[in-house]
Amino acid sequence: MKRRLIIPFTYLCLLLCALLFISPIGLLLAGSLKPDDLVLVESGSWRALWPASASLDNYRDVFSRVDFTHYLLNSLFINGMILGLGLLLNSIAGYAFARLSWRGRGLLFNLVLAVMIIPLEAIAVPLFYIVSLLGWRDTYLVQILPFIANAFSIYLFYTYFIGMPRELEEAAHIDGAGVVRTYFTIILPNAKPVFASVAILTFLTQWGAFLWPLLVTSGESVRPLPLAIATFHGLPPLRWGDLFAFGVMMVLPILSLFLLFQRLFVRGVAATGIKG
């Protein structure tokens, strides 16, 4: 009898938790489809999650009021570069730490682990000073370069590679493949889960980056979406529906990336032992 009650109760609790987590996204989506005057009026009731008279007017408004495409392309370019170069560089570093033997490997790896605990906020000012000296302010480069090498990504790759059977590489060496070819033809195709995990985690962190772009950019030409939404919020008249539509369009790329690699991401999380 007790068991019969526990299972539905558990499901009910899980359902409530799921609703709790989904509700902000639901609110955002519903609000983006409603006429602007209803967004705040209905926000205190269940109607907040239900767009009775749905339209895409708010989305059209966003495009007419700001150059959304420009900011989106900026964000995609900056994040694409961080992601692409980061995956290549960090995976090679992780592989070198996990598999190659070289002088100073242990010391350098400990340094990488130590760097993981330093937040960007702590080094933002000296970093800002350096990039100012180099004359990199207001460029794409300044938003990309400091974030390519990532200690946490290196650690995730290291964890995955260390668990791969060494015989695969040894077989490749005997077959005549050098280190570089072994990496690209044998290791890389067998490490898709960790690549998916690192890609999603990097994208998640970088897509919403606000502090650093705010420090190093002043003109609109190289600014990414998080700064654009802040500017858009301050642009009169304040329209919540438009702001919600902007938010939805900003979330979409990261949501699609996650859905695309969800299965691999879960496998990667399991293999590298990441916990949320």
Partner: protein, 368 residues
Amino acid sequence: MATVEYVHVDKEYPNGSRAIEDFNLLVEDGEMMVLVGPSGCGKSTALRLLAGLDPVSHGELRIDGIRVNESSPQLRNIAMVFQNYALYPHMTVRRNLEFPLRMMKLPKAERVRRIEETAGMLGISELLERRPRQLSGGQRQRVAMGRALVRHPRVFLMDEPLSNLDMKLRTRIRSEIASLQKRLGVTTIYVTHDQVEAMTLGDRIAVLKEGKLQQCGRPQELYDQPANTFVATFLGNPGMNIFRAWSDKVTATLKLAGGGWQIPLEPLLRRKPILAQYVEHPLLAGLRPEAFSPRPTPVAKVLIESVESLGHERLVHFVPLGETPAAERETLVARLPGPQVEKVGQSIELGFDSGQLHLFTIDGKTIG
């Protein structure tokens, strides 16, 4: 086809531990050499050194008389089958076989010809488009061998390739490997910890212990004339019984197992004159389980401790009832034909063929 030589080879790790010590071995052209020994004896290390996966600390490795210590694995033209097969999981069987050929930069037509030839020879033609995860253990094993053979290597290395297979499949593939090796005549070095595999596969066997070569020779030679007690106990299942012996000058007898058996010294001295040096010295005696029999002399009273009946034969575990105190008695095992007739706790008379008696010094080296 090639000869392989290990000349005073050492392998020392940075922490100072030695996996291989002063290892000398000559593998003849076309020979199947089996390296056998317990875990950690250095047999896989010897293979890895030859493959070029680990560097040699001291000594020289030669293939066809040419030093290869500094050559890359590919230049040595050696192929290796790993214990877990190490097939590339993301490639089909065809691509797995093709990979080493691509590395050799062979033209496509030649690659295709070799793949078809090897697949046909190993009976894996119908598996070419499958991926390793879609294959059974036996099929994977064949593909791993195919990937090694497709290169037409000079030397073929196999590192415990059957240990992941069940007993039935292992027996079948063992005989397939033996006949394939004979047919192709490729110099092969095969590593195993299984003495049955070593005895059945090897043209010659090299027995290793703690990084040192104990003995190398034909399987029957090692079985009949072991160089020391380690080889004697390692080969054979069960291994040779080793127990204490004492040659008594006064009675001119050799007392075995605490005096349970006594045999005249004279015929032994005639057969092994060097034994004269060990008279009045403690010795070790060795008898294979099949040397025992209820009939031949000398006969001694023994106490049955347990009996394992195998249907056509039985393994009788017993202690000889000599002058030795009960606590110091050694348990021996005899292989007797036919079904079980003894009872546990029963005392029976058991003898052995003295022609099959082995004698060792107290530190385990064979005498004579």
